[in-house]
Structure formats: structure tokens, C-alpha cells
Symmetry: C4
Subunit: 193 residues, 4 copies
């Protein structure tokens, strides 16, 4: 029961955060022709896609983790809340990043802000996993596919972002793509056997 | 279980996207009398209705498709995410379209942007259907009523929008109306027999 | 199944629309002292409360209606969508009304706009009820408590709003209060017997 | 059934309100370097965290309360709606507070506004509890851990806010922290026995 309502609440936050991402795409500049203004927003579409896939991937992994957990206690409810608190910030950092890329100013600072949130999210996930392991709440020996990748790639990219935002963005995109594609590859391999 | 949570997440995105459409109606111009300002926004109300019915129709078709699918694997989760990513953009393109119609500038570009998103949405739907067919995930020989219409009408209208936005808008509206009304006609026919 | 997902989608739209109402409260005027600016927004708080209770009442009545309906067909899905389309507009008309009351201009036009949406909502509700009755989808002889009130009070108040917005607002508030309080009175009477 | 849909609706409002909190973080000032602008927003991040944890705590307590209630009648539906109406205002008062802290003006008035909403929320919670007790709707002798704290701390902090906003903010933060941490401590104690 507690688990069911925690899932419903989490799904709500994930769905709202994903849908609010659209507000990170700025209103087209009315001084330009609309066609040009929309094309000038290409970086915003890219950050929209990266963030949407990132939230989707967190949701899928969240779902897999919760599924493997036998029962929810109060501590887990609050660690879960911590995760949701970082997920709900993603529309803000995506918006900051989109604006910086479009204006061509301070892209490094924006990429750092994006990375700090992603690192906090990854940390919250680690807390949930570690707590569930220590308190033996997992029903099966559970580990997310490539779980440690995000724990590594987000802080590393955040450091790199201070010097080169393009490499940092590439890592954010690659991390999301890895989590999206790698399980598919493994699933396909399992089927072939 | 996976299917249930995918539905909950999808319903969340559909519901939020539909409700956010209201922000595509601009704040009435404070320099006009409010009555005139509200009447001047008639095109915004029309695009609101078209987009709301469109999202409703996607939701109904999504619901019918998911219902007919036996089980959700990872690939389907991500194809579903792809669909949601295009649905969540509709409030943005609706807003762009409403503003262009009201200002009387660049309506063609706005209608193209609307059509590109609708085409992407229709493509994502085709991916889901094709994948489910190829991997034999459908429980019954399944096909959506008039499924191929959107696959055809949205790209065609997007091309037409470059030259004549009014014809394009009429096709968008007609596509939504067709999906809304046609199943009702068929349902009524089935009852009469 | 269809009914369950229609409820989930509807609950989503109701919840999002109710929560978005908070954006109808304008950012306090930064030129005034914050205390005075917040007090100057009293009309906005009043319209917020009226609209929130109105959405709550629609949700409760929607819930009672759906509960009494045996099964959902396609037509009902779309009539339900029509209702949600009008509910999702309430944050907009509430915002228009709040701004008009605060500025002291064109309150009549704002009250008319509010009433038109409420009338449309009430009409959509009537469609659902009539359709379910004609197609004998109700499991029990069903009628909402005081159902015909809203069908009468909203159009009447919309007409009155052209001449006297204060009377119109009083009717909107009274209608919401009636639906909120009357069932409680009846429930209490039933218990006393 | 009624209880299940009331939970779904409530979870929706809680999830949307929590996710909308992100809009209380203002767009970084474009006249500053983005790094400095983001650092200057530290008070906004603090109020975001306090409000998010507050909503989380209300949700957890709401969940525990509803769980212990046998059945929902109409009165309870509306008392529940009253609670949701105060929760949905939190993004607004958080935004007002964040702006006041950042501008350094009228922080007292903003802290009062925040406290008034929190007090109203706490009152609505008391109504739900009292009603359920009087009408004997609780299945078990139920009382929330430290329930009376919020009933006391919010009005007291609201009064203090008139003179010293920093003490008031500390009490808001401490109240949220207490509800978040105290049950964990008790849970840990229960396990040790």
C-alpha cells in the first residue's frame, strides 16, 4: 500500500517534470522571422531531448529498483523524496542551459549547474540502493545495469564543464543514451540465446 | 506491473500536456477593452481545441494499443517514451501557432512547426505498432481504426503548410475530428446490427 | 479497464488544473511594500478559492457519475474529454477575472468569460448524463444532487454578468458553495434517521 | 473506491505542487555572469528545499492518515479538498519568499505570508483528524507522530515573522526537518528492540 502510493506520487513528479521541460524552449524571438527564430533554437531542442531521455531513464531505473524492493519504510520514503527533489530541478537547469547555449554566453557555468543537479540525482539514487541493500529490502540480488556509470560520469562531466562545456554536454548525452540503449542490447542478447 | 506503471506515467504526461495547453492562450492585451481582447483571441481558442482533441485522440489510441499488447519490454518502454516526448512538445507548437495566427505574421512557419511535431508523434506511434507486431506482443490481430491516416495526413499537411497554412490547419483539424468521430460511427453501426 | 484509465486521465487533468490555479494569483507589484501588495491581491485569493472549490465540486460530481456508469464506450470517452477541455480552461478565466478585479477595469467582460466557460462545462456534464441515460449505462437510477442547478445558474449568471459582475460572481460562489454544502446536509439528515 | 480516487486526486495535487516549486527559483539575472547569478540565488534554493520537504512531509502524513481511515464520506472529501487548496498555494508563497530574500526587501511580510499558508494547511489537517475522530472513521486509535507540533509551530512562527523573519524561517525549516527525521528515529528505536 505504502509502496503503491509512493509509486503513484513518484510517477506524478516524473511525469510533471518531464512535461514541464517544454518550458525550457524559449518563446521564439519576435524580431526574427519565425522560421529563423525556430531554427536558432536548435540547441534548446537538443537539451530538451537530452533532459527528456534522462528523466525517462531515471524513471525506468526507479521503476526497476522499486519493483525489486519488498517494502517501503519511512526512511526509504524520504530518500525517494530526495531523488524526486533533484528530478524536479531538471526543468530549471535545462532552461538555464538552453538559454546559455542560445545566447553564447557562460555555457560553462550552465553546464556545471546541469552537472551538479545530475550528480545530486545520482547520489540520491545511490542512497536508495545502499539503504535497501544494507537493510536487506531487496527481494532478489539486485543491481541496475551499468549502475555505477552515472555515479562516475556525472561528477566527472561536472568538473570538465568548468573548462569545456561541449565535452561535458557530450557526456550528459552519452550517459542518457547508454542507459537507454544498453539494456536493449542485453535484452536482445538474452533473446538470441 | 511494468505495463501498469508505463500506463500511469503515460497518463500523467498526457494529462499534464493537455492541461498545459491553456498557457497557449495569451494573456489578453491590456491596451484593448477586455471584451475585444478576448474576441481577438478566437484563433487561440481554435488551436486550443484542435490540440486538446488531438491529445485526447492520441490518448485514446494509445490506450487501445497498450491494451492489446501482452507485455512491456525495455524497448517498448523507450519507444513509448519517444511518443510522450513528442506529445509534451504540443503545448509549445500550439503556443507558437496561436501567436502567429493572432499577430498575422509567419503563419506558414508556425503551421510547419506544428506539422513537424505531429509527424514525429505519428512516427513514434508507428514505431510502437511495428515493434509490437514484429515481436508478436499483440494479444489479438490488432489495428487502430484508420491508423494510416495520421501517418499520411500529417507529413502531407506539413509540406502544404509551406505554401498555404489554412489548408494545413484544416487538415490538422480534420485528422483530429476523423479520429474522434469515425470510431463513434463504427460503434453505432456495430450496435445497429 | 477503459473506465479505470479514463478515471486516471481525468483525475490527472482535474489535479493539474486545480494546482495551476495558483498562477492566477499575480506576482505582487514590486513597486508597493510587499505587505500592501499582498493585501491588494485579496480579490485574486477570492477567485482562487471559488475556482478551486468549483473544480473540487466538478471532480466530486464527476466521480459520483462515473461510479454509477457500468462501462465506458468511445462516445463517453470523448464526451468526458469535452468536459476536461472546459475544466482545463478554468485557470485561464480565473486569471483573467483576478486581473480585472484587481485593476478595476472591464470586470463585466471578465465575469462573462468566466461564466461562458462554466456554462460550457455544465453543458458537457449534461451531455455525459444524457448520453449515459439514453444508452442505459447507469447501473442505478442515478441523478446528481441538485444537478439542474448548475445548468441553470451558470447561463443566468453569464447573462447577468453583462450588467452587474458582482451579482454574477456571487452566483458563481453560491453555486460552488451549494454543491459543496448541500450533499453534506443531506448526508447528515440520512445519518440522523 | 471513493477513497482510492481521493488518494489519486490528492497524490496528483501533491506531485504537481511539489514539481511546480521549481518555478519559485527565478531566471538568473542576465546582467550578471551566470555563475555569480546562480550563486546569488542560494536563498531560492534553500526555500525550494524547505518547501519541497514540507510538501513531502504533508504527503507522508496525509498518506498515514488516509490509510488509517476506514471510509470516505462527502464531508471528508471536502475537508481533504481544503487541505489540497492550501498545499497548492505553497509554490506561490515560496516564490514570494525567494524573491524577498534575494532582493533583501520586505522579508518579514514574505515570511508572514508563508506562515499564514502553513498555518491554514495545518488547520485543514486538524479538521480532517478531528472529523475522523468524532465520526469514528479511524480503524485504529490513530495519532500522527508529533502531530500537535505543526499546529503550534506554524502560528507561532507567523507571529514571530512580523519581527524577525530569520527566526521564523528557522522554525519552518525545523518543523519540516522534525517531521522528516523524528519518525525515522522512532522507526530505528522500534527495530532495535
Amino acid at each position: 500500500m505504502t509502496k503503491a502510493r509512493a509509486e503513484a506520487f513518484s510517477d506524478g513528479v516524473f511525469a510533471v517534470a518531464a512535461t514541464l521541460l517544454v518550458f525550457s524552449i524559449p518563446t521564439p524571438d519576435p524580431k526574427l522571422h519565425l522560421g529563423s527564430a525556430l531554427l536558432a533554437e536548435l540547441p534548446s531542442y537538443a537539451t530538451y531531448v537530452i533532459s527528456f531521455v534522462t528523466i525517462l531513464v531515471i524513471w525506468v531505473n526507479h521503476h526497476a529498483t522499486i519493483d525489486a524492493i519488498r517494502t517501503f519504510d519511512r526512511s526509504l520514503l524520504f530518500l525517494n523524496g530526495l531523488l524526486l527533489m533533484t528530478v524536479a530541478v531538471i526543468p530549471f537547469t535545462t532552461s538555464v542551459l538552453a538559454r546559455a547555449l542560445q545566447s553564447g554566453n557562460d555555457q560553462e557555468a550552465a553546464a556545471v549547474a546541469y552537472g551538479v543537479t545530475a550528480t545530486a540525482m545520482s547520489l540520491a539514487f545511490t542512497f536508495i540502493n545502499t539503504y535497501a541493500k544494507v537493510r536487506r529490502l531487496f527481494t532478489t540480488p539486485f543491481s541496475l545495469v551499468g549502475f555505477s556509470l552515472g555515479q562516475l560520469s556525472y561528477p566527472v562531466a561536472t568538473v570538465i564543464a568548468h573548462f569545456n562545456y561541449q565535452v561535458a554536454l557530450a557526456i550528459y548525452a552519452a550517459t542518457a543514451a547508454f542507459y537507454a540503449v544498453f539494456p536493449l542490447v542485453r535484452e536482445a542478447q538474452l533473446r538470441r540465446r
